[in-house]
Structures are given as structure tokens and as C-alpha cells.
């Protein structure tokens, strides 16, 4: 069970074995097929679509959100390592990989890429069907509640997610999903080695050192860069993906209480978003070396009062 030191950002991890503890927020039963290892592992990967790092971000008219017009959305780069890890464990032990994404309809494009890469099926959780898309956009807890409910419905035994999404940089959703499921998690995994189909050795980078952990399934792992080398989809994979199932689940399908994800469920609210201030032009001094040094020293002393 993972415990988070209050506000410290540190994790104390103890390995726990055995079946999943029922979620504290819901009595929903785990799919009874879970745990039958003869059928291989039940694997899920959480995928988020984020603005490409090249996108020019504009604040929307409400001053509290991003204007999605002309923004190119891509799979969160850390999720690519999560997808690869999920596919590799399937290749090792057999089973099924389900890709899950929460967001507007466009996330289905990311899910199609997961299917092309080799995921067996996909679950699209359209944010508009959960009451308040804006809340789901800003509240990692609300997102985690929806995602955890989907994982529970699937009866997944191991879940992979990126260590962080590059849009909001909170590193929160993955570990919150683990908490809601009552599962252990290992975050920021940089190396993963399977002892058997129920136990994994995981390395994670910590300040100045590398931490080696062993974790028993069910468990959630968040992937760091370097965990593996994500594959490219093949053209056959892209064509095969067209025939793979993509389910759309709403709050009713997940037996989710609207109060848990709807208006008022967020623990944080965004007051305003502002672009970084425009950079002012630099100052160029000219002359020979002596003149320039004199001018720079004078500027630092008199204008900036730095020396």
C-alpha cells in the first residue's frame, strides 16, 4: 500500500500482495475473470492527449482554460513508454491490453494509435458524458475517479500510465488512480523486469540514486523516459486497428456517482491562466573590450542595482 507523506512529495512504499482492496469510494465489484492467469494478464494503459510541445498555447476567452483552436494534440510523450511497457508484458505473458483515454472525442485518435501499436481494444471515456468536462480537464482527482472506475470495470491486474502529462505537469493522476483502487504503485519507473506474471522488479530514479523495488500485482506503474524504446505502429497494425473494438463508456456504464465527478467534486479550482510575460529585448553594448566592460559594470551597478 502506498502512503503519501502529507505535502512532502515523498512516497513510502511497502509491497503488498493479494487481491485488490475494494475501492473506498465505490463498492463496484471487480470483473470475476480477473486473476485467472491462464488467460494471460489483464493489462490497461491510461493515455492522455496533450497539446504538442510545438503548439502555440493561447488562453481562452474565459481566462481560465486553453483555447483548443489550431492546437495539435498528441499522445502524452510519457504515455508512449507506458504503452510500450504494456505491450511488452503482454508479449511476455499473453493477455489483453486495453487502452483507456478520458477527454473529448478527439482522444479517440490517440486510442486508434494505441490499437495500431498493438493494444487489443480501447475504451473512450468522453468527458461530456460525465457532467462537467471543464472539471475533468482541471481536476486530476476527478479524472482519476473516472479512470479508476474504468480500470475496475475492466478487472485489470496491471495498469501503466505516464509519470506526468506534459500539459499540466502535476504527476498526479496515475498515482491517484492507484490510491482509489487501493493498489500499490511505483512511479517514475525507469527499468522494469518481470520476475513472473505476478511480480515485477522496478527501478526508479530518486535524488542522486536509483531505487529498486519489487511489486506484486495488481499494481500501477507510471513510466519515465528511458523505460523502453517505444515502437512505431506498422501499416498492418494501422489497418488491423480499424477492426478492433473501441467502447465508449459514460458515468452510468461505470456505475459512477455523478457527485464524484460532476460539478462541485473538484478539490481545486483554477482562478486564472496567464501566458508568460513577453520577453523584452536584450541590451547590446558596443565598443572595445574595455569600454564594454565599463558599460556593463555601470549598468549592473546603477540600473539593475545588482552589484
Amino acid at each position: 500500500m502506498v502512503k503519501r507523506g502529507a505535502g512532502s512529495g515523498l512516497f513510502v512504499l511497502a509491497v503488498r500482495t493479494g487481491a485488490a482492496i475494494p475501492c473506498p469510494e465505490s463498492g463496484q465489484a471487480v470483473d470475476s475473470s480477473a486473476g485467472d492467469r491462464s488467460l494471460g494478464l489483464n493489462i490497461a494503459v491510461l493515455v492522455k492527449q496533450v497539446p504538442s510541445s510545438e503548439a502555440r498555447i493561447k488562453v481562452a476567452a474565459d481566462g481560465r482554460s486553453i483555447d483548443p483552436t489550431d492546437v495539435e494534440y498528441v499522445i502524452n510523450p510519457y504515455d508512449e513508454y507506458a504503452i510500450e511497457a504494456a505491450l511488452q508484458v503482454k508479449e511476455k505473458f499473453g493477455g489483453e491490453v486495453v487502452a483507456i483515454a478520458l477527454g473529448p472525442q478527439r482522444v479517440e485518435e490517440a486510442l486508434r494509435t494505441c490499437l495500431a501499436l498493438g493494444a487489443d481494444r480501447a475504451v473512450s471515456l468522453r468527458d461530456s458524458s460525465f457532467g462537467d468536462p471543464a472539471l475533468l480537464e482541471r481536476s486530476s482527482l476527478a479524472r482519476a475517479r473516472v479512470l479508476a472506475a474504468a480500470v475496475r470495470k475492466l478487472g485489470s491486474e496491471v495498469v501503466f500510465a505516464g509519470k506526468v502529462s506534459i500539459d499540466e505537469d502535476n504527476s498526479a493522476t496515475g498515482v491517484q488512480v492507484a490510491e482509489l483502487l487501493g493498489w500499490p504503485h511505483v512511479s517514475v519507473a525507469t527499468r522494469l523486469e518481470w520476475v513472473d506474471a505476478a511480480h515485477a522488479k522496478v527501478s526508479r530514479e530518486i535524488e542522486g540514486a536509483s531505487e529498486e523495488l519489487e511489486v506484486a500485482l495488481p499494481a500501477l506503474l507510471t513510466a519515465n523516459k528511458g523505460l523502453n524504446e517505444p515502437r512505431y505502429p506498422s501499416l498492418k497494425g494501422i489497418m488491423a486497428a480499424k477492426k478492433k473494438p473501441m467502447d465508449t463508456w459514460d458515468a452510468a456504464a461505470l456505475e459512477l456517482d455523478q457527485a464524484a465527478v460532476g460539478a462541485g467534486a473538484g478539490r481545486i479550482s483554477i482562478r486564472s491562466l496567464e501566458p508568460p510575460p513577453a520577453r523584452t529585448a536584450g541590451q547590446i553594448w558596443t565598443g572595445d573590450a574595455r569600454e564594454m566592460v565599463t558599460k556593463v559594470v555601470a549598468a549592473l551597478k546603477n540600473d539593475r542595482k545588482l552589484i
Partner: protein, 389 residues
Amino acid sequence: MARFQGLDFYSIDQSLSPDERQVRDLVRDWVTNEVLPGIEQHAREGTFPLHLIPKMGEELGLFGSNFNDYGCAGLSAIAYGLIMQELERGDSGLRSFASVQGSLVMYPIREFGSEAQKERWLPLLRRGAAIGCFGLTEPDHGSDPGGMETRAVRTDRGWLLSGTKMWITNGSIADVAVVWARTEDGIRGFLVERGTPGFTTSDVKRKFSLRASVTSELSFQDCEVPADSILSKTTGLKNPLMCLNQARYGIAWGAIGAAQACYDAALRYTLARTQFGKPLAAFQLVQNKLCQMVTEITKAQLLALQLGRLKDQGQAKPALVSLAKRNNVAIALDIARTARDMLGANGITDEYPVGRHMVNLESVSTYEGTHDIHALIVGHAVTGIEAFA
């Protein structure tokens, strides 16, 4: 690395299906990550990036991706064209490799070969585990392949080939050559394996163009091949022309990729470079050139898109393919030259891809039917009068 943003001035992306866009983006990213970092070095040294072949074949499945059997992906003509476009944004030599492998080797084996030939070669060629080449052009017979001098004569055990093929892409690295030769029953195709006694190759050296591509001469001197080497369903010159029609379709798309690379370089350069106190892109003459590039690329995209739709309906007649190949390569070459001009002195170095595309496109304009020959094919189609001779 960030995804290359291709020019899409007319929102043509909307006309593509999600899987067509997905295929395009896959190859686009792959070219950015795996091809562009080393391509100038290969062009400089005159070597083909052999290490990319298994990636294009086994990993991505680009070879013969428009076929739907023997493990191929069964893509639409548009998706296939988009792959060619993205490969040629990398380098015309890379696209040439894929065109030859798919349209000029896998296609004739699939169309004209026996079951045994298909079973043997198509899976290997698809994976890139075998490389193919296409021998039609001869030293003295380019635009007029019907004048070919290479002959195949029946022997007790098979066929005796003699003659020379010239300007053969992949020639010396090929495991199998599709060779066209005159027989007493007209022009027939043969599969000749590397190492067959009497079959030798030598590379064309000191090329200005397609430097990151292998171009060879194939020589057949009393080269005896077994009876089952013949592509049994071949009957005449129209068979190699059917192959060329496939490859020319890919070139019509590929040229757009080279043009996009040059336009992108010119746009970035003129926005960044300041002269007379403002970016080059702020000058009217520069904007006029950019406008011309955008116009011609957009027209080429629309031509290729409609041609692809017709091809999927089985209606891409050869004259339509000729018009698109001719136009799209011509505008790409023109854009490359204009981009070179806009980059000033920097345009003559390989710090920028423009010079490489420019000289590559000189070959692309000439091979697979020259610019002028395609004018005659379109001319024939509209007048009913052949003006080739």
C-alpha cells in the same frame, strides 16, 4: 522531435480518412527521426542508407503496402501515395528505393508471376529481406524501350539472356532483378537472381543527383536462367509500362514531399534572416515567391488526391498518371530552385536540404518517363495522334 507540419493551405487533410492521416503521420515522424539525421552524410558520401531497409520493411511494412495479400497491409491508393510523399520529403533516393521495390518488382511478380514465384519472393521483398531491381532501360534505349536489344533465347534448360540494362536503381544491391528482354514471342519479363553466372553489375559513379541511392548497369553475357524464371503472364511491352504506371503514380505524390521540404526550408529561412533591418519574408518579392510555392504545392496536392481516388476506383488511366507525374515533378523542381535562390549563399551548402532535393529532382524529372514524354502521352490522349516518332 516535433512533427513536421506539412503545408495544408486548402485543408486537404479533411479529405483524408483517419487511417490515411495516421499512415501519413507515422511515416512523417519516422522520416524526421530516422532518415533526416543521417541523409546528408549519405548523399555526401554517395551511399544508400542500407540500415533503413529492415525498418521500412519488417518494422513499418512500407513495401507493397497497397497490396492486400502475402502479408501486405492493403492500404488505399491515397495512403500509399502519402507514404511516397513522406519518404521523398526525406530524400528522392529513399522514395525511389520504395517505388522500385513495390511498384516495379513486387507488382510485376504479383501480376505476371507464377504462384511459386509469388510465394518465394513477395514475403521476402515485403520484409526487405530481399531487394529487387527493374531492368528495362538500356544504354541506347531510354524513352523508346520498344527498341530494346536485350534478348532471351530458349535453351534446353531455360533461357539465355544477353544484353545490357542501364540506370537501374538498386541494381548492384538487388537479390532479384526483373529483367525485360526480347524473345521470339515479343517482350517478356524474367526474374534473374543475383549470382547467376553471366549476370554482373557495376555502379554509376560520380552522380550529381540521387547520391543516396544506388544506380547500376546490369550486364547479361550468355546468362542462362531456368525455365521457371520467366514471368509467364507477360506478353509484351505493355507489361513493363503497367509497372511504370504504378511507379509514376507514387512519384506524383513523392514530388510533393520534396517540394514541401524545400518550401518549409525557404519559409523558415526567410522568416529568420534579417536584411535591411527586417526579415526577408517581409519583402514583397519574397512573399510573391512563397505565394507561388504555396499555390503550386496546393494544386499538386489536389491533383494527387483526385488521382488517388480514381486509382482506388480503377479509373486512373495512364494519361492521368502522366499529367500528375509531369506536373508535380516540374513544380517541385521549380520550387527547389526558387528555394535555393531564397536561401542565398546558404542554399548551396548541405546545411540545408534544398540543394540535395534540387539535384535529386533533376533525375526524378527524367526517369520513369521524361517530362516531355509525358507531354506526348497527354497529347496523344487529347488528340488521338501519337507524336512519339
